[in-house]
């Protein structure tokens, strides 16, 4: 099977306007993936499915990833000349920048015909609040239908052109997206004999919420005339 780099180069040659980035997996598995831009994702997906060399006819898995906003501290070394004429000092400068958050849909593609795979493709939304639309790949691989509904349910990615985009696990009236990192669970903590770790955190939050609000002292009575 072609390596992800070869696939990327072929895609860039076939789709000149598209952006295809190789996302390197630094782990032991080394399963690198291809980041597609949403505008060309549908056309690229059809190409990946129908290309005689790849023939990725089976989408085994579609899932979501939540990347919340992250503060990144970058350390750069700057040499400062010594005014006294000595050797220049090397000073570390720290700069902070905010990496904006986004949601990601990941597809694992295999070829049943050629017995090869997986090729992993990713799509990213603009942000986590209002630009959460991605093109649905269900018209390309029918197997994505339920899994894209699950991503919509748990992460809140809206797949355009999905044939039946409803919640699949939670009820329709549910408003949250439980797999997002900033999801706040309903405060349904109950007393446990040995609360520890995360449960202890919830126990403390519950105790703070359940404690009666401090009563304001009664206003001093007006002096009798």
């Amino acid at each position: 099977m072609e390596t992800p780099e070869q696939i990327r180069d072929r895609l860039l040659a076939r789709f000149p306007g598209a952006t295809v980035t190789l996302v390197v997996n630094p782990g032991a598995s080394g399963q690198h993936s291809l980041l597609l831009d949403p505008a060309n994702a549908r056309a690229i997906a059809v190409f990946l499915r129908d290309d005689p060399v790849l023939r990725l006819d089976y989408c085994s898995n579609a899932t979501g990833v939540d990347w919340p906003e992250k503060e990144i501290v970058e350390t750069t070394k700057v040499s400062v000349p010594d005014p006294a004429g000595g050797a220049p000092k090397i000073v570390e400068q720290k700069t902070k920048r905010i990496q904006p958050g986004y949601l990601e849909a990941v597809y694992h593609l295999y070829s049943m015909a050629l017995k090869t795979g997986p090729v992993i493709i990713r799509l990213r939304t603009g942000n986590r609040t209002d630009q959460v639309a991605l093109p649905s790949l269900t018209p390309v691989w029918r197997a994505c239908e339920f899994q894209e509904r699950e991503i919509f349910d748990l992460y809140g990615i809206v797949f355009t052109d999905h044939p039946d985009l409803r919640r699949i696990l939670m009820w329709d009236e549910f408003k949250d997206h439980p797999m997002r990192k900033d999801y706040v669970e309903p405060d349904d903590y109950e007393w446990e004999p040995t609360a520890h770790d995360e449960v202890l955190v919830r126990a403390k939050a519950h105790a703070a919420a359940a404690a009666p609000a401090p009563v304001a002292p009664p206003p001093a009575e007006a002096p009798q005339p």
Binding site: L169, M170, W171, D172, E173, F174, K175, D176, P178, Y183, E185, P186, D188, E190, W191, E198, V199, R202
Partner: protein, 212 residues
């Protein structure tokens, strides 16, 4: 006339050992009822597999008169909540319970039905069906073996045989202020509404001997 019956249960047992059969309507009624408990054919998760195993030849729940798993709640006496009750499923379970005719009984089978079990800290699992349904027998285990289910059924039969037909100690279904229908929770924006039925369940309070 005193409230204590002239012939007690112990007297009847003693007479029976001597070959004299003396009985009461209450005893016959409870005897018949406790030996034909028809469960609802209803399973939720892996505990249901053990429930099915208990009904098959090896464990043979028919020995206790409970082999007739009814496919309709209108014909069932016993709701075996066998498995994880998700919040999405909870209203349907309560609705099934409401559709069963009195006298009816509920067995919470397995850790999930009792307390949420391994999924207790999850956002989507009910932390015990006793928040909405009055449970008679709790069977711990993950899942409980069929023997445990049979033991739970025998305990339920024991409870049924001890029930009174008249007097202040009548079971739940004969009390005049008994709610025949239990409120079905609604799907809310973040959780079930209400998240529990406070009339039948309150969260446990920590027991601190040093701080009364």
């Amino acid at each position: 006339m005193s409230d204590t019956p002239v012939i007690t249960r112990q007297d009847r047992d003693e007479l029976r050992r001597q070959g004299i059969l003396l009985t009461s309507i209450e005893e016959v009624y409870n005897w018949g009822r406790s030996r034909s408990v028809w469960p609802l054919q209803f399973g939720l998760a892996c505990c249901a597999i053990e429930m099915i195993a208990a009904s098959m030849a090896r464990f043979d729940i028919a020995r206790f008169g409970s082999e007739v798993f009814r496919p309709s709640p209108r014909q069932a006496d016993l709701l075996i909540v066998s498995g994880t009750v998700t919040k999405k499923m909870a209203p349907q379970v309560v609705r099934l319970w409401n559709q069963m005719p009195e006298p009816k009984y509920c067995i919470a089978m397995g850790a999930c039905a009792i307390s949420g079990g391994p999924f207790k800290q999850g956002y989507n699992v009910l932390k015990g069906i006793d928040r909405f349904i009055p449970v008679d027998i709790y069977i711990p285990g993950c899942p409980p073996r069929p023997e445990a289910l049979l033991h739970g059924l025998m305990e339920l039969q024991k409870k049924m045989r001890g029930e009174k037909l008249t007097g202040p100690d009548v079971p739940r279904n004969k009390q005049p202020d008994n709610p025949c229908e239990y409120p079905v929770p609604e799907f809310g924006a973040h959780d079930l509404e209400p998240a529990k039925n406070p009339d039948i369940w309150q969260p446990p309070a920590p027991v601190r001997p040093d701080k009364p």
